[in-house]
């Protein structure tokens, strides 16, 4: 039941306990037992799984505490999903400062993974907008952490993968909107150089993201669609949109639907469709920010063995070359990746010690789990990323080595003293 988004065959916790109220104490832990908060299981790998331990489900910590609709300051419990938040704040003219690719993550998860969105080059990561958070430690103490009060613990908790204690609630600064729509422009590109040029030209667009075709025929590697958008300024509707997905994948097929043929067909069609609808258009925020949320449990199309997501960031110097090398290797491997997403991060620094986003290019890819073969392929990507001083995103990872993690996260030494000794995850035990 408490699996992660990649549906990989991971060992689950021995027990899951529901948190009902933010003022409840942590459950008693016997012997060496450890605990980890579990929100909606949208992390892809094992960073949200505490194999053989205790997990605290935070889905009922979903209450608002205070919404200052005049100044756009929101204080709420950590188990609220971003969707639940948007349903309330959008009709009153506010939006979350940063949203990831799905609205079904919890606030606590957004903080613990210091998630980023299509506006990273403008707004930085989610942690840049957290004003304060309440932390419950395993010794029973409760701490209010802000950049100035308990600042070290605050910085450790932003992107801290839930290891510094249970985030019970947080306060976030929102951004004003006048309309629920975005002005979007899609532009096709044929290679990474063109992508970089478009990225540079689009610096004053709030949101940018690209889909890349990693699977097209020779000579087309690196073609894709560049999307840029900004909140529409019209005084029009402020509708929060559907809360539930319109469609769903009812069960995982025995074998993956994702293979070189289906991906090739999809990519051809997507590129063709994207090239056709050039020019500006207005669209509701949901399909722009959360296209995959339209299909509940889309992760099941990868079959019962699940899939790995691989997201890396490579620093600006030599980033184009590293991404090109990665894409060539993916193409050569013949391993399909439906969703190859490319984005240029900006230089706004997150307060988080273990934050993933940093200046450079980030590439995110999905691979059906074909066992050791897939792991070997991803390990070979790690070498490329490590050689240029890049990093892998823990929220999407289920396999990186301790060395890879250490190489990407120089804040580790500063982070260690802030870890709660009773909090742990399968990911943490692997990379330590």
């Amino acid at each position: 039941m408490e699996a992660s988004w990649g549906c990989l065959p991971l060992t689950g916790p021995d027990r899951t306990i529901e948190r009902d109220w933010r003022f409840e104490a942590l459950p008693e832990l016997m012997g060496n037992d450890t605990v980890l908060a579990y929100g909606r299981g949208r992390s892809y790998g094992d960073s949200c799984i505490n194999s053989h331990g205790t997990q605290l489900s935070t889905r009922r910590l979903n209450r608002f505490i205070r919404f200052d609709a005049e100044h756009g300051i929101l204080n709420c419990e950590a188990g609220l999903t971003l969707d639940e938040i948007l349903q309330v704040i959008v009709p009153r003219g506010w939006f979350l400062p940063v949203v990831p690719g799905t609205r079904f993550v919890t606030l606590g998860g957004a903080i613990a993974n210091d998630v980023h969105g299509k506006n990273h080059h403008h707004a930085g990561s989610f942690g840049c907008h957290v004003l304060s958070l309440n932390l419950l430690r395993s010794d029973g103490t409760r701490q209010i952490c802000t950049p100035s009060e308990n600042g070290q613990r605050f910085a450790a908790t932003i992107g801290g993968l839930g290891l510094t204690g249970l985030i019970t609630s947080a306060t976030v600064r929102l951004i004003p909107i006048t309309c629920d729509e975005l002005v979007v422009e899609d532009l096709p590109f044929n290679c990474i150089e063109e992508f970089t040029a478009l990225s540079r030209q689009s610096i004053d667009w709030e949101y940018t993201v690209s889909w890349v075709d990693t699977f097209s025929r020779k000579g087309q590697v690196g073609r894709g669609i560049f999307s840029r958008a900004r909140h529409a300024q019209d005084k029009r509707a402020l509708a929060p949109g559907r809360s539930r997905p319109a469609l769903g994948v009812p069960f995982a097929p025995p074998v993956s639907f994702v293979n070189r043929w289906t991906v090739n067909c999809f990519n051809q069609a997507y590129f063709w469709a994207g090239s056709k609808k050039q020019g500006m258009r207005h669209t509701h925020y949901q399909p722009f920010f959360f296209p995959l949320d339209t299909i509940a449990n889309w992760n099941r199309v990868y079959g019962k063995n699940g899939f790995y997501q691989y997201q890396c960031v490579v620093p600006p110097s030599g980033s184009e070359q590293a991404i090109q090398t990665l894409m060539r290797d993916i193409h050569r491997s013949g391993e399909a990746s439906f969703l190859a997403v490319l984005k240029e991060f900006g230089d706004r620094q997150s307060p988080g010690m273990l934050t993933f986003p940093r200046p450079g290019l980030t590439l995110a890819l999905d691979f059906p789990n074909r066992g050791e073969k897939t792991k070997r392929l991803l390990a070979s990507f790690d070498e490329i990323v490590m050689s240029v001083g890049g990093a892998i995103y823990p929220a999407k990872d289920a396999r990186m080595s301790a060395a890879m993690f250490a190489s990407g996260y120089s804040g580790m030494q500063e982070f260690l003293p802030e870890v709660d000794p009773k909090f742990s995850s399968a990911f943490w035990r692997r990379v330590q």
Binding site: E18, W21, R22, I65
Partner: protein, 248 residues
Amino acid sequence: MPTKSHILVFGASSAICHELLKLYAAEGAKYFLVGRDAAKLAAVADDLVARGGTVSGTASYDFNQWQHHQACVTQARDSLGKFDIVIVAHGSLPDQAECETASAPVKACMDDNFTSAAIIIQACAQQLALQGQGTLAVVSSVAGDRGRKSNYAYGAAKAGIDALVQGLQGRFSGSAVRVVNIKPGMMVSPMTAHLKHGPIWSTPVAIAPGIYRAISSGRRVCYVPGYWRLIMLVIRVLPTGILAKLPI
């Protein structure tokens, strides 16, 4: 249905009730919330206010202090002015095995699920009678439809509520006061956290819209989710000899 309903709630911090109240918050409802635990009540009140509702007052006390109920209803009426909707949703699930071997759990079950509810319902009904309109929604349970060996203590208390509600429906027939009997099936909630959940279990989030619609239309009996109407129909017509053999 007036868009800004004035709502009195007993058992406001129960999971089902809170989900239901959220649906009224977006319309700017005004609440008076009553519960047993002040901290939980405050958490629910803050949530409803942030979602667009107004809380005119709260009261927390031990529901076994039956003398307090009338005073509480009066306080709520003074605070809200009138009641468009009164929701009685408190309760507790006893351990059936304990109820078979000891007296205290049986008394607690009847106090929590019947006695306190009956007194509250009576006091609220009286106020609605004076107003001449309004909707009283009582959350009972499918457990009251037929006594079964797995939970007849709880079932007996809820069956008592059923009889009370049926009587009130008769009393108010022909008037603008409506009485709605809400019968949830098995719910994944804090009250049932210790039980094993199966495929026919539902969640408070999933059933809240059904309860909302039943209150809006003033339906007399509302099974949520709807398939429980069918399940309970079968259970009600089963011959006693067969029912006794089933593990339910």
